[in-house]
């Protein structure tokens, strides 16, 4: 039986044009990333610096969190700590209720996806409008993002044209990106002006100054914060970095790794609320301290959510983000999901990789992603008892050369029979798209023993 992700990929991203377009669009980001990285004279050294800063920040996270809290409060922000998703939902709702806020504009935040904040707010009568264009597209389509920085990358131009025609009255059959974007902008402008509150994420939280760093390409976070009387920023506790100077490392890496831009269009440093407005910062744990305590896996917390590992991942590009079944897909999703989610449902994600290692090679903070995947596979994963039994038996054979030889001989003798049996089984996973290897003849060891030694031959 093939894995759930494989079946979902076949269903959600069917082979054909849609798959080809998805793979090409995502790989194009990887190509841009390569080109942009080469414009930075010492990109590999920057990666090493970023890794070291994040490792240090995580080692002393308690200190930096307290410092951030103190400095942010001193600058006039209010800082809240949320233990889990439910806590984030509750605090956000209370903050909105205190201001009688009903209309919220939101900019991109993978954390709020992870914590399912939107559906919770909507259940309580709050109108939440995602203002990042990609996010808006998936929101209108009633689906989650499929990529952490390109939420609608699984959608074609035609999909979006049809969606906008239905939802925003754009011209029938119009698939021109410029006109569709203009339609979304007109629609969003009114919502920005009417918003009671803005919810944003944050890419970094600078402990030294209590500053939030919010990076976007569309300026939508900025417009939200600049207009609404209430700004709620939600971020994971791992986003804290020591000083403003560290941004010189991270900002050079982030946009290059994400989209191949030297820097994002908007990089806003927010220290305290604007005059007459309120700023609340919610620092969310949701499994992060548990992961921090896990020496083997904590480095995954260094992730700056650039998406480079998704873009380079051959599996992600051929599966699509929705097949992963969690807010964060791709290699980083597969190493975070087992750590940050309860239950066994996502414990198979670390197996959804060929271990090609390209993710580790592009990661701007040098997370050893594919090694992490291997480590997760070997940790007390709830493997099927049948798989465990099979492994035990296979090892028993391989520990005994005589038995191993015999197994090889028997397989070879029965090869034609096995071929027929396999071929007759429509569910055979190897044969779905591939032929079996041709009969190999005698084993290497048998032939090596028999062959003429070179010194014997004339």
């Amino acid at each position: 039986m093939s894995a759930a992700l494989d079946r979902r990929a076949a269903e959600l991203l069917p082979a054909g044009e849609r798959l080809t377009a998805h793979d090409a669009a995502v790989f194009a980001l990887r190509v841009k990333r390569d080109a942009a990285a080469r414009t930075e004279p010492d990109f590999e050294r920057l990666r090493e610096q970023a890794r070291a800063i994040k490792a240090h920040a995580l080692d002393h996270l308690d200190v930096y969190l307290e410092r951030f809290e103190a400095r942010a409060q001193a600058a006039g922000a209010r800082v809240h700590f949320a233990a889990d998703a439910a806590d984030l939902q509750r605090i956000t709702l209370e903050l909105l209720a205190a201001k009688s806020a009903r209309r919220v504009v939101k900019s991109k935040s993978m954390l709020t996806e992870e914590c399912r904040l939107n559906p919770h707010l909507e259940r309580h009568g709050i109108e939440v409008v995602d203002t990042d264009l990609g996010e808006r597209i998936v929101q209108l389509g009633g689906e989650p993002p499929s990529h952490i920085i390109m939420p609608a990358i699984h959608r074609t131009r035609a999909d979006i044209g049809a969606l906008f025609e239905r939802e925003m009255g754009s011209a029938p059959g119009d698939t021109d990106p410029g006109r569709l974007t203009a339609a979304a902008r007109r629609d969003l402008r009114a919502r920005f002006l009417a918003a009671d509150a803005a919810i944003t994420g944050a890419n970094f939280a600078v402990a030294e100054s209590g500053t939030l760093v919010i990076v976007t390409n569309e300026g939508n976070a900025d417009l939200g914060m600049a207009l609404a009387p209430l700004h709620i920023a939600c971020l994971g506790i791992e986003k804290v970095i020591p000083g403003v100077a560290d941004l010189a490392v991270f900002l050079r890496l982030l946009a290059r790794s994400a989209t191949g831009q030297p820097i994002s269009a908007y990089t806003s440093l927010v220290t305290g609320p604007r005059a007459g407005a309120e700023l609340h910062v919610i620092l969310v744990d949701n499994g992060r301290t548990r992961l921090l305590a896990n020496q083997r896996h904590r480095s995954a917390l260094a992730c700056i959510r650039c998406g480079a590992c998704l873009n380079t991942c051959p599996v992600y590009r051929r599966a699509g983000g929705h097949a992963y079944g969690w807010a964060v897909p791709g290699p980083i999703g597969a190493v975070l999901a087992p750590a940050l989610t309860a239950g066994d449902e996502l414990r198979s994600l670390p197996f959804a990789s060929t271990l090609c290692g390209s993710c580790s090679a592009v990661c701007p903070v040098k997370i050893d992603l594919h090694d992490q995947l291997v480590a997760w596979r070997g940790s007390d994963s709830p493997r099927a008892p049948s798989a465990r039994r099979a492994a035990r038996w296979a090892a028993r054979v391989l520990e005994r050369p005589a038995l191993y030889r015999l197994a090889g001989r028997v397989t070879r003798a029965l090869w034609p029979l096995l071929e027929r049996r396999f071929a007759a089984n429509p569910a055979n996973a190897w044969l779905a798209a591939r032929e079996l290897p041709e009969h190999p003849g005698a084993s290497f060891r048998a032939r090596f023993r028999r062959r003429a030694r070179p010194e014997d031959t004339p």
Binding site: F43, R318, F351, A361, V374, P440, F444
Partner: protein, 249 residues
Amino acid sequence: MDVELFIPCYVDQLAPQVGLASATLLERLGCRVRFDPRQTCCGQPFVTTGARDEAARLARRHLRVFEGADAIVCPSASCVATVRHRYADLIGEADARGLAARTFELGEFIIRVLNRSDVGARFPHRVALLESCHGLRELELGWPSERVSRAPRPGVTESLLRAVDGLELCEIERRDECCGFGGAFSVEYPEISARIGGAKLAALSASGAEFVTGTDASCLLHLDGLRRRAGTGPRVLHLAEILASREAT
């Protein structure tokens, strides 16, 4: 030089010609080649499927089998990568380091230990190189396209192929994208595996290559299975087979 062949279980059973070509090639280069029939499997399939206990037992066994050998040479990059990168976790840092220092992938051994790149092979055909991911990124047998450098060095495997008489190396699009094999991945995720492999096969076909070669027979078996199903595409040959070839024009 005495060389102990490390022939992975799947090469022994499914691709014996790769082992034989390796032996022939090394002997031609002046090595005395031995094969210890106690060896079976390095444990890689158990590492990657999360069967840690079994992997550790096989790794300790592998260490015992190759205890006295000075140079252990293997025609499979991913098995060498297992010894080099996964064994520390299974048998302890010290033993793993000692074994790793004596274990070489075939092409790497020829270039870095024997200091040869021209092995006297002749293979007058158009050939595309399928960089196996573990060879490329874990053994650094080549320069991954995502790695940024001002002066990328030509890879080990590529250098060997370039020195083969008559061989024309074909460029392929997305040259070092994975082939989609991934061991157990190929049967647990057959749809995605075949999608990745299908794209690789298309790129290889488009390159005009008559043959595709690489350092891992496992990736090649997967590709060959796809090729024979599709009925078109370059035939597969392991690096050892090309380097051992003395084909006349």
